[in-house]
Assembly symmetry: D2
Homo-oligomer: 368 residues x 4
Amino acid sequence: MAGNSFGQLFRITTFGESHGPAIGVIIDGCPSNLEIDTKFIQSELDKRKPGQSKITTQRKESDSVQILSGIFEGKTTGTPIALNILNEDQKSQDYSHIKDTYRPSHADYTYDYKYSHRDYRGGGRSSARETVARVAAGAIAKILLQQIGIEIFAHVSAVGNINAPRLERNSVNELLQIREGNIVRCADPVTAERMIEHIDQIRKEGDTIGGKISCVIRNCPVGLGDPVFDKLHADLGKAMLSINAVHGFEYGSGFSGSEMRGSEHNDIIIPNASTDSVNKPFKTSTNFSGGIQGGISNGMEIFFQVAFKPVATIMQNQNTVNAEGIPAEIKGKGRHDPCVVPRAVAIVEAMAALVLADHYLRNKTVIL
Amino acid sequence: MAGNSFGQLFRITTFGESHGPAIGVIIDGCPSNLEIDTKFIQSELDKRKPGQSKITTQRKESDSVQILSGIFEGKTTGTPIALNILNEDQKSQDYSHIKDTYRPSHADYTYDYKYSHRDYRGGGRSSARETVARVAAGAIAKILLQQIGIEIFAHVSAVGNINAPRLERNSVNELLQIREGNIVRCADPVTAERMIEHIDQIRKEGDTIGGKISCVIRNCPVGLGDPVFDKLHADLGKAMLSINAVHGFEYGSGFSGSEMRGSEHNDIIIPNASTDSVNKPFKTSTNFSGGIQGGISNGMEIFFQVAFKPVATIMQNQNTVNAEGIPAEIKGKGRHDPCVVPRAVAIVEAMAALVLADHYLRNKTVIL
Amino acid sequence: MAGNSFGQLFRITTFGESHGPAIGVIIDGCPSNLEIDTKFIQSELDKRKPGQSKITTQRKESDSVQILSGIFEGKTTGTPIALNILNEDQKSQDYSHIKDTYRPSHADYTYDYKYSHRDYRGGGRSSARETVARVAAGAIAKILLQQIGIEIFAHVSAVGNINAPRLERNSVNELLQIREGNIVRCADPVTAERMIEHIDQIRKEGDTIGGKISCVIRNCPVGLGDPVFDKLHADLGKAMLSINAVHGFEYGSGFSGSEMRGSEHNDIIIPNASTDSVNKPFKTSTNFSGGIQGGISNGMEIFFQVAFKPVATIMQNQNTVNAEGIPAEIKGKGRHDPCVVPRAVAIVEAMAALVLADHYLRNKTVIL
Amino acid sequence: MAGNSFGQLFRITTFGESHGPAIGVIIDGCPSNLEIDTKFIQSELDKRKPGQSKITTQRKESDSVQILSGIFEGKTTGTPIALNILNEDQKSQDYSHIKDTYRPSHADYTYDYKYSHRDYRGGGRSSARETVARVAAGAIAKILLQQIGIEIFAHVSAVGNINAPRLERNSVNELLQIREGNIVRCADPVTAERMIEHIDQIRKEGDTIGGKISCVIRNCPVGLGDPVFDKLHADLGKAMLSINAVHGFEYGSGFSGSEMRGSEHNDIIIPNASTDSVNKPFKTSTNFSGGIQGGISNGMEIFFQVAFKPVATIMQNQNTVNAEGIPAEIKGKGRHDPCVVPRAVAIVEAMAALVLADHYLRNKTVIL
């Protein structure tokens, strides 16, 4: 339990360093008899993989997934699912300069201090490359959620101070088409253009920029989430905060809700006239609660936002120290992302899917 | 594992409903030989207890803690510590009107749907009264952290849109004195006055208001936090989001960090000249990382902010439905807080202490 | 996670020392809407309580259970169930002689060495008095299992070298009546007489004697147990071995199975003609597998046997050392059991019920 | 948490089916800076691998271990260690006859009922081939224990009713040499001859035979084991019972202890004159406690015995049913072990090592 597992009943354990032989994941607790479309897993990985466009890293990884166990004749067997992704485009010599020199705002120093011995190549275990395993596992979780009708959609809602307008009430399929129609993965095409231009400019300056990702979850049944510590939004929050570079999480009214009065913030409950696939007798006229009350989903749309700091590796000289404490200068080498959010959309969706799949299974044990 | 436990090695499990006989907690994994000052536990509980001032609920609870096990002759024995707090001032008849009618933005509906059977009196398990157990357990965690020198300080940084200035670099003892010098628990006395006035006004209108709490952790050793899912800030985030009414969490640069460039956000590493109680060879010239890099503490001050929505119970008529779906009107009865943050300061500190105590113990097993 | 919790989904955490104010348990994960008959919990506790007969300790404890949470209007609410049993008949002065002197084959020395500080009175946490909490929690588990039709029955199958014949195929109700008809709790009245006489003789000699308990589980659905580590019999084994004084566990053919050939040991599968309450298409013509194959219940009767060593406290002088290593002499004081098995029958049943309730819930998540 | 993980702090998760592409394991929580000799891991696997001698299955697997993560420049980094063993000698067509027909005393029926969909080839996940992952992980645990000086030694103590005499007080190295000097892995060469002859005879008859393995743990520090549920022997018991074909576990005086009196069973404590590598002030003049008191190691030799039922696959016709309930006849095909214990010695040692490594780390958090 050294922190490489996530989830209680739909539980993943990831392994692998960025420049080791492989990155992978074991999923324990996936129900049997789910039909697994390997092409879908691959298409999810493709949204995260490097080298997709001019605004992502130019490193090339095919990120092809191998299934080592748990799936037989196209269906899950209820036994552990092991997924393996070989590392290919490793230019480990790109990293010899950081063997003994700590990169600012990276985990080099903290890993070295904690473990005394680390695989420094490309950040090793602290590299965001680890998230490829999360996306692979998240794809299996999404397949599970599709059976229930739960839909998850995330997109880039901000790059630096360029913010996208609120999501229109399109279907998730429509939103996906719009989002995948631009390389920054924003559901508003006009804003997307400005974001891309901005990232491209920053990239040319050898700099990086932060951003935000918004996520909605639709058709979630009422009742997911376990009080009092494992509230649905608490587990979503932890899931998001565990993603590299994330510095903030808010759901529903979020930080702005702290400025509101109860009389405006309260979501009035009304009968639900519509006939959903899920059994939902009530809805609320507003949704400042973000679809979650008392830590339990209430059937309304769940939505949250995640803040990413700028990528730490910049193509500029920076002062630092080496392990002996001697001042040194360092400059990013290799091929890095000027802005992490376009590729992180797949990671946010994957982590959200893992939380929901877990709580869906947990909720099955509440009633005898 | 239905969500009522928190922590891996310093692990708490809480029980109790707001109008049941008692609320309590078992702490499993507290090291032996810690001297426990019962008066300190009580003083922590007193900061959270109702009826403290004109801006908190007028409900009266002595919140006296009973120690049922795990402490012998004033010291922990390494066995489970059970703490029990009897419920006293229960006016259960205050709640008969919500037996069948769902209060807006409360957990009545979601609990009813999930469990089919609930203790509706005062919100039962969904009541923030549950946090009394967290504060009791957090006091034990604080005693553990005192041995290591770790200090935790939280205060009310915002009420509505009244924001406190950034914390001065006073000592934690000085900050505590300032904070406890006003009933809103803000470390800036001038802002505190405005906050109190604002809450009092809102209370008179039968309304409620949200707010924010900021927390700093000082003298944290380098190395706490477990990659990749149990990053220190991810566990802090989950801890905070599990507190009633919390809608957002950010650490270090937080949401504003998403608007920054890497060249301004990166924290340059420099040798540490000062002689701390903890072994810290390096520090950083800025601290946008909030004391955590790669999920592991780097020895700098850890800081984060928590956003609370306004209390849902207001003294105004609101529309809603009952369990049969028939429209109804509801109005808050009983004695409620117009703003939750003054009493939540103790809860934020307690949850932070629990996370740090847990990760302190976890870190002891990284090296043979 | 310092070892005071048991179970994954139906999870108990116990607390309390033998001479502290109380012993208790939190059950987290019990489904909602179970009707709880408090009298049933009490009747289970009465089977374990001291002072029942001439062959048990003469210590008097009413072992009255208090329900602190989780049950409302007679039914579980899905929230943590806290059960509390006050310690009453504490003659702590009986134990002053063991404050600094280690009793042979007790846990005095190992606790002292591990924790450096211990509640020595009556063994503190190492006392079998802790099992009162298990029996209380086990009663709730039994109520859950009654809903499914699962029946558990244990009895004393051996005292010293006096062995009971194999159980007749009576109903569990009949067996219970026979067992409770004698003070040693053996389902064979003739053997019971010999056992009682033997224990009484040994008691008079100031000595103690070991014994065995056999347990059967009937009407267990097919499919309980999780490969590969959480096999049903592995969890039953751990449950039994965690009971004070247990030195051995075997299920099905057990130790004697190791002397058999595959051709005689294999259980031939045949269609099941009978119409059970549970859906069981097949049965086996023999049952050397003890109702479990590959760690998963196969619908046949589950049975196992547990070996208890003799109680360590004897009314005879024994040599030992004190904490400083100086040789000392010690003799049992107070009121102790000459043979533990009559009172342990309730504990074996409780632990078995906890394992089955847990695996019943776990099995609900295997199929979507 | 579907049962494929074992351990709390030194935690393994295994995956893989007998005829899938690979079997493997992730170890999470191994301390950093351990030097890992890959040849040692391989030598452990070689003791378990098929095709070693005339009395084991003739199936050929090289069982070569690949290290996918967690070890860098020959030393552990504190990150998850992933070990992968490719399946090679798969004759899946050997198993077409069991696709729809349930083998007696195998897990075919229970897996099919529980999961509705299974990889039937060679037993899939229920195959003892899964234990190759345990032995690989156990080798890492053994390397950790070597640093502390803990020694583990198991051998075949019985085949059918041929029992080996009690172990002589040789050193573990000497015992290992004797044991590896015969193909049945018994530490008594004379008994070994009789066992080999017996197995060979049974093999020729197309039958199988059960057996027992005894294990000793030496130089264990005082203090390992967590009361009350995670007693050291309870975790050892679960570990052993989770191994395929195990039907019984006893430690110390075991089942025969249940026939003893307290006055003969109690282990008298005496000062420890010898100067061990571990700090042990006391020893006991006898050791019926098997080195564990109150669930905590007392520094004496830990010993236990494990009973294995005969292998279910026999080369004889047996009656059974198919999934539709139609009577069928089945006969073992392929290459199977006539007696499992010679290859299981490595598995018993591996599981014991995993338990001890876990409790060694757990014990580091008991004192601040």
